[in-house]
Structure formats: structure tokens, C-alpha cells
């Protein structure tokens, strides 16, 4: 990989060295957008402009008088998607999110991601809200697009610390109370839950018209645990310990995890939600690019 390519990829460990989360978000998003100009896929914009012949009943405010002066015909200018998308970020701050095998923790990475998404939305003047949860909802910021709300939002994200256990299903049930208006719901979590139960919990939100995006963050060692000797593993949430053989971790564990991920993906698809698996050693801009490309493909 050339040095230019390395500079373009914002490694999580590099971003963790930046003290200001807003700076992290801006670095990630601006750099990423600069990169997009070079891309043949011109992707993220909900604005789409067209001219249409005026028909009776149309609002005369939208008639383009410049065109009428040139052609003596009345056309009106229309914007598609001109309504703002409400983005609600749901950040899991349970103890399992605080796990790290050496680089940044899942929670730290989740904070980077949340800040980047918030910055991206604010750049388009979309209202952004935040819910921090673990076993229950710990913080709630309603979606707003007021000037200065981004800084306060990022400040809130920055102050999030890991809590105790997770109760994803219960939290999703209570999210409905806070998500009255339709919008994009971005869930950032490691999703250690029963896929079926989660599916049931997410379903009401989907039915309510929310566009649900599940960002599943996992540490590289969770994806590929490699030990050469037997180890005693301690659950960071429950503090339960288990003696595990390296052969199990190399074989059966990965199979189970793979099945779990597949189930999650299927459960999400069943309710019209989408799941994106991100390893915490993946550069942030690459993760964002994947997300946006995914969104573009979907649209």
C-alpha cells in the first residue's frame, strides 16, 4: 500500500490520538467526501432537480421566470427529496462494547462512527438525535437541526462511557416512545442478542416507517480468536469464566459466530432493516464508504 493510500485511510488508532471528537468527525467526513469526488459514483445527495411544464394548480412560486423569458413557456422547478431526513443514532454503551484486544474499543469506534454520521447529517442540515443505552436508555437527545446542535451532540457522544450489561430487546421496545417521526435509525452495537428477539423488537420501528441501519461492531479477536494454549476467558459483563481450548476457538466458535451473524442479517432483512458488520481495526472512512455505497445501492 502506498503512503498516499495509507494517509487516505483513517485508522481507528490514529483517530483515537485526536483529542477532539468533532475534529475526528470532520476529518473522517471531509476526507471521505474529498475522496468521493474522484469516484465515478456520485452518491450521497437527496436533492434531485427537474423541469416540468406548468399545469394548472401548480404553485406559481416555483415557475422559473428566467426560462419563461427565454422560451415564453412556463416551467416549474421541482426538487425531489427536499424533505429533511431525521437521523437518530442509537449507541450501545454496554460493558461488552468496552472490550478491546489492543486497538480502540468497540465503544470508542462506535463514538467515532456516531460523530461522523452526525456530522454528515448536519452538513446537509438534517436533524440528528442521539440515544445512549445499555440495559436501559441512559441518554436521549431529540433530533434537531438547530445551529450549534452538532457541537452539543458531539460533546454528548464524547462523554459516553461504558455501562453495565445489555438488554437490546427491551431498549428497542422503549425506543418507540422517543421515535415519533419517521427517519433513519442508526443502531451502533455489537448485537450480542438473540436475532429472533431482536427482530421482534425492531419490527415495530420498521412498521412505523423507520429506515433502520444496524452497525454491528466487533473486535478482530472476537472475529478470529487465536490462542495457542488453553485460556480462561472472562465475560466482561457477567464476569463468568470459562476454560477454553484453542481448538474450540479456532473451529466451533467461529462457526457459531458465523451462524449468528447470518441469523442477524436474515432477521434484519425480514423486518426491512440492514446490517453492516464492521471490525474495529477497519479504517473509519472505509467503513463510511461501505455504508454510503450500501445506501446508494439500496436507493
Amino acid at each position: 500500500m502506498s503512503s498516499t493510500a495509507i494517509n487516505r485511510l483513517l485508522l481507528p488508532t490514529t483517530l483515537a490520538g485526536l483529542a477532539n471528537l468533532e475534529l475526528v468527525a470532520r476529518t473522517a467526513v471531509e476526507g471521505f467526501l474529498t475522496g468521493l469526488h474522484r469516484s465515478p459514483h456520485y452518491g450521497f445527495s437527496q436533492e434531485f432537480k427537474e423541469y416540468r411544464a406548468y399545469v394548472e394548480g401548480d404553485d406559481p412560486r416555483f415557475v422559473d421566470w428566467n426560462v419563461y423569458a427565454r422560451t415564453e413557456r412556463t416551467y416549474i422547478r421541482r426538487y425531489e427529496g427536499e424533505t429533511n431526513t431525521r437521523l437518530m443514532i442509537l449507541l450501545d454503551a454496554s460493558a461488552s462494547m468496552d472490550y478491546s484486544s489492543g486497538g480502540v474499543s468497540k465503544l470508542q469506534y462506535g463514538k467515532f462512527l456516531a460523530a461522523a454520521l452526525a456530522y454528515l447529517a448536519a452538513r446537509q442540515h438534517d436533524p440528528v438525535g442521539l440515544i445512549v443505552f445499555d440495559e436501559q436508555i441512559r441518554q436521549f437527545r431529540p433530533a434537531t437541526s438547530r445551529a450549534g446542535s452538532l457541537q452539543s451532540m458531539i460533546h454528548t457522544i464524547d462523554g459516553v462511557t461504558a455501562g453495565r450489561g445489555t438488554n437490546l430487546e427491551e431498549c428497542f421496545r422503549s425506543f418507540g416512545e422517543h421515535l415519533k417521526r419517521r427517519g433513519l435509525v442508526a443502531v451502533i452495537s455489537d448485537l450480542y442478542c438473540d436475532p429472533l428477539k431482536m427482530s421482534k423488537a425492531v419490527q415495530p420501528l420498521a412498521y412505523h416507517g423507520h429506515d433502520i441501519m444496524l452497525f454491528q461492531l466487533l473486535d478482530p479477536r472476537e472475529l478470529k480468536p487465536e490462542w495457542s494454549e488453553s485460556v480462561l476467558l472472562e465475560d466482561v459483563e457477567t464476569h463468568q469464566t470459562l476454560n477454553v481450548a484453542p481448538e474450540y476457538l479456532a473451529g466451533e466458535y467461529r462457526d457459531k459466530l458465523g451462524a449468528h451473524l447470518a441469523s442477524l442479517r436474515k432477521a434484519a432483512a425480514d423486518v426491512g432493516a440492514h446490517q453492516l458488520l464492521i471490525s474495529t481495526d477497519e479504517p473509519l472512512d472505509r467503513a463510511l464508504r461501505r455504508y454510503l455505497l450500501f445506501r446508494e445501492g439500496r436507493s
Binding site: 455489537d190 494454549e229 470459562l242 476454560n243 484453542p246 481448538e247
Partner: protein, 692 residues
Amino acid sequence: MFLAPAFLLGLLAIGVPIWLHRVARANPTQHPFASLMFVEASETQRTAKRTLRYWLLLSLRILLLIALVLAFAGPLLTERAIPGANANARLHAIVLDTSLSMQDGDRWQRALNEADSILKSLSSSDRVLVATAEGRRVSVVQSSTPASTAGTVRGTLRALKPGIERLDYGLAMSTADNWLGSPRPPVVLHLISDLQQSAAPLRFADLEPPARTQLMLHDVGNAAAENVFIQGAQLTTVDTRSLEVTVRGTAAKPQQRQVILAIDGKEYGRRTVDLPASAVATDSVETEGGDHLTPQLGSQATTTSSAKVLFSDLKLAAGSHRLEVSLDPADALPQDDHFYAVLEHADPKALLVAPDTRADDVSYFASAIGSLAAPTLSVEERAPETIGTGALTGYSLMVIADVGALTDIQAKRIKEYVAAGGSVLATLGTHTAIEPGPLLEGWRISEPEQSIAAVGEIATTHPVLREAGDWHSVRFFRHRAVQVTKDDKALITYENGTPLLIERTIGAGHMLVLTAPVEREWNDLAIHPLFVRFIAEAARYLVRGDASAASTTVGSVVLTGLTATGGGQIFDPRGERVLGLAQTAAADRLIPDQTGFYEIRGNDGVRWIAVNVDARESDLTPLPASFVQRWRAMQVRQAAATNVAAVAAATSSADEKPRSLGPAVLWLAALLLLAELLLANRYLAIRRETPK
């Protein structure tokens, strides 16, 4: 056996690593993990491998502890505890006779064949040692080695050759304890020899082999062997211009030989000699005319025959001459068909040194020496101060009337003359001090006593005093007590034990010292009839008029006369230097290993030494069967005694000299510690459980 058995309690410490390893295995390392949702408790399948690693480390640690404890306890290894020394194992010592007689005919080849057959008969648990016996030494050419390496031993045997020295079986047997080495298993000593009669020792008891040694005699000699050799050549006592050569033989039939005399490398003459059959020993004398005479019957006590050949009227210029006598044709043992001798043929001169040449004693000495018929000496008189310059080597004899009249420098010069082979007859005169100077270094001489004394003991076996006459009738009016060194020999003493005549050896020369001057105030020796005879015998002894005195045998010690101050060089018969550069100043002795003439070049000129093979080695007569039988019987008795000794040794280990294994065990512990460190470091690195 242990030096400090109490330290063995330290073996209890083995429990510590065992306990530590159990603890370590019960506690695998703990790591945090995000969720145990997909994790189940499981046992590793690498248990066997890990266990093996742990066992290796554990066993290393236990061994290390054991080695340390043993090192402190000091294990001792006794001869009985030496592994592999099974009861049937024997050390077969093959001793090859490499004396001159083994060069006769095919004896040496037969000896090698015999050694080979011995090697073939050995069992695999035996060991074998090869030694050669010749001259005054037994050389181990192949140290004790397993019988399985017989190929190497055969190679060693093939490289051996017989020498030219004489073997004495007594010497080989009496030194066997040393060259066999110790400790050693029971020994079978194979002596491969021609069992020559002349190799038997003077004392039969010297033939006894050492303890726990079985002697096997392998006779490779040939009872019918014939040999003719020159036993010696010397000037006749009657006429110093006639050389008498003795030829001996062991041939069963009469033999005829040409005896060739070469002087200084040129043939001088040849005579024919007829040797009778050796069944009866005879003597025949060749006459001056050169015609040989019929041998006359002689003594029948010996089985060799001998004949003498006379070369008379040798017309030789003054100086030393090399005589080589050889037999033609040569026989199967050609080395003894040559005889070498150095003849000092000169008109001998005597130098009379006296402070006062008109004194009585000077005239007595001059008259006595001048009247000698053999050797004929011309006398030259000089004062001590004149001997500081000019060579002294031209004089066969120096007579010093009073040693005390010499200065230290003069005395040192005379001492050097003696050390180089010169001869001195001296008296202690009135000038002699208490410490008489360098010539008589180490002596202490008291003041003269005015009392009548008489001669006590006389060494009548000494050549000078063989016909001593009646020394007891000589009257001594004055005498003085002399303390001599232990190397000096008192030949005549007074009744009170004080020495009167002393022989002193300095380097290659001799001195005879009379402790009383020949003066009428001291004694009446000068007017006694024995005086002239004594002077004649002393002069004959000191000047050594016979040629054979200047010949020696291979392997004997020869005094070279080279001194530390003078230095010099010795050339062997092939003309090669014998001495290295560092030895030239300190080689006062030489052991010749070749026959022929050795040339000694010193400050005082060139001397020759003739070296011959030992004539006893030429007598190929084998040992009588009765002698060999007695020898074998002796070793059977000895073997029986050995068995008793072996039983005693088995029951008591008091004589066993234990060896300490402590240092070896300590080294082992050090190696184990190193291995443990490496292994433990490797395993601990794995135990940190860093992911790959």
C-alpha cells in the same frame, strides 16, 4: 560410596519442582472477553504435547537437583564399581623383543605372525597393549585399547622394526609394574622373543612377573641359528703396536672368514680365520705371518667357538686413529660383523708440574715415570706459572707435585683439562691450604700431624692397586686428615680411616691424589720398592693405553667431556648433529644409538668414540629348556599367589583407591542448568499467550 552421605537428604527437594508444576498446570492464564455467548468450556487436545513439554522440563529440573545433591555428597568410584570390567576381561600385553638378535633370519617376521595370532585369539571384552623391549627400556607403542580395534594394533605392529641394542629379560620384567599401568585388570603378558641365553638376568628372581599377571612365553628363536661375530679388538698387553681381534661363532660347522682391518677408513690388512664347530670351544691364534694355524683344543665349558687374529706392528702416526674390523663374508646378522675402536696412538707425554723442580719429590716422580716400559712416557717438567698458556691436551698425564702451589686460574685450567678426558696424579704438599681450590673443590684439609701412622685398608680390586705390594710396611711420619666429597673414592686409608690415596672423577677424566707428599720428612714411600710399581700402574691406569678403552656399546652412557663453559658438538656415524643448539653447552653425557664412530668436537679439539653392538647379543644360543621351565614354574606359583591376593582384594576394599566423581557430576549439573534455562525460557514465552 559417598564422601558426605548426609547431603543425600537434599533429594527431598525434588518435591518442590513437582509441586510447582502441578500448581502451574492448574492455573491457565485468564483473559477478558467481550461475551461468552458462543464460548463453551473445552479441554485442549494438545494436552499430550503440553504434558510432554512439562514432563521434559520437570525431569530436567529433577535431574538438576539430583546432580547438585550428588555433587555435594561427593560420590566415589572404586575399582570394583568400574562398569564394564567383567570378571573375564583381561589385558593382553604383547611385548616384542626388538633387540639385535631379532634381526637374525626370519625371527622378526615370526614374531609378527605370533603377535597376529594372539590378536586373533582375543575375546571382545579383552584389551590389548603393545610394547617393545630393547636396551634399558620397555616402550609402550600402543596403549591399552579394546581388542575390537585389532586393526589399529596390527597397523602399529607393522610399523615396528627390531633395533641393535641388547635386551635384559630381568629389566623388562622388573619394570613391568610401571609400564603396564594401573589400575588394570588381570594381565596376560605375552613375551615374544628368541629367548636368548645372554638376555637372562644375573638374578633369576628378577624374572618374576608382577602380581595378577600371567606370563606367556612365545619362542620365535631358532636353536640351530649360526652366527659369527667379532667379540672385541684390543692392543696386546705385551706390545702396544699389536692389535688382537677376537672372533667368536656359534656355527655347527667350521667356518672360515676374512678379518679385515681398516684404519681411518682405509684397509690396512686382512687375515683369514678358521672357526671350529661350536660344539667344542677352542682358541686359535693367528701368527704374524698371516698363515692360519690349526685351532687348538680349549675349554669345553662353552658352546661357542672363538679364534683370535693378530695385526702386529701397526705403523701409525701420532694421534687418534679409527679402527674398523670387519668379517667377510657377512652372515645373517651383519650388524655384529663389524667392530669399531679408537686407538690413541701417540708418544705419550707426561707433564710434571712442581713449584721447585729441584725438589726431591720431583726427581722421584721423574725417575719413576721415566723408567716405565709400558706405557712409555716422556717427562716434561714445568713450573706452575708456565701452564697458563699453551695446550694441555697433548699430555697424556699430568703429575702435580703440590696442588697447593697452584693459583685458582691454574687449577681451573687443569680442571678443564681433566674434565675433557685428561688424567692427573697429584700430591698434597706443604703449600696446600685448608680449602685447596677449584681442582679439589669440596675438600677440607687439616694441618699436618706429627705422628707415626700406617696404612689401614687398601682397595686391592682397583687396577692401580691390584699388585699393590706391601703398603703396610711404608712408614708415615706426618700425615694430614682430609675430608672428601661423597663422589670421591678413597683407595688407601690410614689405620685411623683418613684417606691416603683418593680417586676423583671430573667430567670424562680422572685424578689420583696422594694426600701426603713424596718427601722424606713425611714418609719413606720414595725409597720403598713399591713406589715405582705404583707410579707405573697409576700411569697405565690414567693414560689408558689400550685401544678398547675408547669403545663403548650402543645404549650405554658415554661421558662426552663437553663442559658448560666450553660447549661443543657431537656428530653421529652418519655425520649428523646429535645435539640441538640449546644442548651444545650442557651435553656432558651421550647415549649412542648407532654403531660406528661418534665425533666430539670441543674446545680442546676433536675426540672420537667408537660404538659397537653388545657382543652378548650376538650369541644366539637359546635359554636352556630347564631354565625356561623354571621361569614358567615361577609364574605358575606366582599365579596361585595372585588368586589368593585377588580373593583378598575382593573381600577387602582397603587397598582400592577410590576416585571422586564430584567434578564430573558438577559439570553435568552445569549442563543441566543451561538446558533448563533454555527450555524454561522457551516455555515461559509461550505461556504469555500473545495471539499470533
